[in-house]
């Protein structure tokens, strides 16, 4: 049913966006003073045997013309060869993937919970807009969102971990891991506070968008039409208001979720959670460009993919896009 042209165009845009990202990282690497192989080798050892340099030059095609290097670079990226970390001398891709797994442990539940709770609260608040409870919740959310994420995290550590000692101060596991191995319950215990914090950030973002969207929808004429048919309020909300209010949410939620990588950087830094966020902070301090570029590429891939999915979902939900708007 989906308009094929629309879909093709969207996929084309996504591809172009990724090409731009890859090109960007390629040129950043190449515009570095010196070349990236020398930089890499220098960062792991002070002594540079000429043969090693030559071998690397050949292997990475640095002796070829720029466009050939570019092609090789793109091929490498596509095959998962994302270069070597200055800091650790290890290949970037597996490193990032391993950290990503840890990030997902807190990101996944937070995103799912956050979207669900945010939408429900926002829809309820928008539906009841103007009421006392709505205003109380709305004002609370404004204040909540205004306070920076890392500050919430620090305060949470202070109150819940340090003062009340309900949760550990940070890290992903207790010291007992050395003797008894990784215990899922222990990890969960360490993850609860970060997950709660991340969830509430996502809730706050989605709440605001959903409430506005709901307020816009309940002012529409078709809501009056639905009431004039004799529908009860529940049916008006579920059948007529909710679906329309959710349409702009699809795209906005994607933006929110894509932006959460920033929130997770702070959370992971404050809680020393060994995910992408902590890796980012580490690499930033050490100016470890290949890792940062890898994180950027990964984030770009995820965001571009999420946006594409959101576009397809939106076009599926909204007949005006699906049928190709006249």
């Amino acid at each position: 049913m989906i308009d094929g042209h629309y879909l093709l165009r969207r996929i084309g845009y996504s591809g172009a966006a990724f090409v731009i990202c890859v090109t960007l990282t390629f040129f950043i690497l190449h515009l570095m003073p010196g070349d990236y192989i020398t930089n890499y080798l220098l960062s792991i050892s002070n002594y540079l045997p000429q043969e090693a340099v030559d071998q690397f030059y050949q292997q990475y095609g640095l002796d070829r013309p720029l466009w050939e290097q570019y092609v090789i670079y793109v091929c490498n990226i596509l095959q998962g060869h994302w270069g070597y970390s200055y800091q650790y001398g290890l290949p970037v891709f597996p490193m990032i993937m391993q950290k990503l797994t840890w990030s997902l442990v807190i990101l996944l539940p937070a995103v799912l919970l956050g979207i669900a709770i945010g939408i429900v609260l926002g829809a309820w608040s928008g539906w009841k807009s103007g009421g006392k409870k709505d205003l109380a919740l709305f004002n609370f959310m404004i204040v909540f969102r205004a306070i920076p994420e890392f500050w919430w995290a620090i305060m949470a550590v202070w109150v819940f971990a340090f003062s009340l000692q309900w949760f550990p101060l940070g890290g992903f596991t207790s010291i007992s891991v050395l003797s008894s191995g990784l215990n899922p319950w222990d990890v969960l215990y360490h993850a609860i506070l970060p997950i709660c914090l991340l969830t509430s950030f996502i809730v706050a973002g989605n709440y605001y968008v959903m409430r506005n969207s709901m307020i816009a929808v309940i002012g529409e004429d078709y809501i009056t039409t639905a009431r004039a048919k004799g529908l009860d309020e529940r049916a008006v909300l579920w059948r007529h208001a909710l679906k329309n209010a959710l349409l702009p949410m699809v795209t906005m939620t994607t933006f929110q979720v894509a932006g959460i990588i920033m929130g997770s950087v702070f959370i992971e830094t404050v809680f020393s959670w060994p995910g992408i966020g902590l890796l980012t902070t580490d690499a930033l301090r050490m100016r470890d460009l290949p890792i940062l570029e890898g994180i950027f590429l990964l984030d770009a891939l995820m965001t571009i993919g999420a946006m594409l999915a959101a576009d397809i979902l939106a076009s599926h939900l909204d007949p005006r896009i699906r049928m190709g708007d006249q």
Partner: protein
């Protein structure tokens, strides 16, 4: 037999800067089989009137008076009772605009909706019913069209769909709010013809600013000015022998009469002059018109007028 009896209906809106009166002391009786038109210019409160009977005004509206339907005052009914009335007993054809139909539901779903709430019609029967409705309103290929979404229809077709939605449960009274505004001349003529046919033996409250639409559809006409009814009577009589100076002015201002304008502007809500509200624009006003506010007087068998000249 009186189907809907409205007495002393007033509506005020509470805003930031105090209350604004919109409707003042409206009395109107609609008998079964009547087709009553409510004529007025924009801002005179005629749309608010329809919405107040349906109890669909926003929460900052204060409605007083009574609207008795089948012996029950709708203004006192609770929300659950109103839901039983809306769509089933009293249905509405809203002012036609692109936004009155839900953009994400097919028109078949939207028409079937009122049947689902108010009748036990389900499944195949429901499908058949919707198709019958669409066919009776001159929508071709109903099977195919009921799968379409509102944005795929033209203004004229949307109007037909709105009429179908209103007729679905065979209501006792239909309130049509500007059913022909925003349509092109040809389409408007078609819709008027259609409404004439389907409203033949129904009870209709027509809200419009268009004298042509009123005279084509209505058996009785009420003329509103600045939130009150200034004249009421059988349509034909009223247009032939208008009594109130405002009605006379309206008719003279119509295209076929050669655009003789009424001087001045309608007062904004809450800013009516003392005495007769039409007085500052009236060509036959006397001194007493600017002091005493006239009441709606019966003149003749079936006519009422609010003008001091007929006291």
């Amino acid at each position: 037999m009186s189907l809907l009896e409205i007495a002393g209906l007033s509506v005020q809106f509470e805003g930031r800067d105090g209350t604004v009166p919109v409707l003042d002391n409206i009395d109107l009786e609609i008998n079964s089989g009547d087709r009553v038109a409510l004529i007025g210019e924009s801002g005179c409160g005629k749309t608010v009137f329809g919405m107040s009977v349906m109890r669909l005004l926003p929460s900052n509206a204060r409605v007083t008076g009574s609207a008795r339907y089948a012996g029950r005052d709708l203004l006192l009914a609770d929300e659950r009772e109103m839901q039983q009335v809306r769509g089933k007993k009293i249905a509405m054809i809203s002012q036609n605009s692109a936004s009155v139909l839900n953009p994400v539901l097919t028109i078949g779903d939207q028409i079937a909706e009122s049947l689902t709430i108010h009748t036990s019609c389900r499944g195949k029967d429901l499908h058949r019913e919707v198709i019958a409705l669409l066919t009776s309103l001159g929508i071709e290929r109903p099977e195919e069209n009921m799968q379409k979404y509102p944005h795929q229809f033209s203004g004229g077709m949307r109007e037909r769909i709105l009429i179908a939605m209103a007729l679905a449960c065979n209501p006792d009274l239909i309130i049509a709010d500007e059913p022909t505004s925003g349509l092109d001349a040809l389409v408007k003529a078609q819709i008027l013809e259609l409404l004439r046919t389907v409203m033949q033996d129904r009870t209709l409250l027509l809200i419009t600013h268009d004298l042509g639409t009123a005279s084509a559809l209505a058996s009785h006409t009420a003329v509103m000015y600045a939130g009150e009814i200034v004249e009421y009577g059988p349509t034909q009589e009223l247009f032939t022998y208008p009594l109130h100076p405002y009605t006379q002015g309206l008719i003279a201002a119509s295209p076929s009469a050669g655009f003789h304008p009424i001087p001045g502007v309608s007062p904004a809500p809450g800013q009516v002059p003392p005495g007769c509200w039409f007085c500052p624009r009236c060509t036959c006003a006397t001194d007493r018109c600017s002091t005493g506010h006239p009441s709606l007087k019966k003149t003749g068998t079936n006519r009422q007028v609010r003008c001091l000249r007929y006291d």
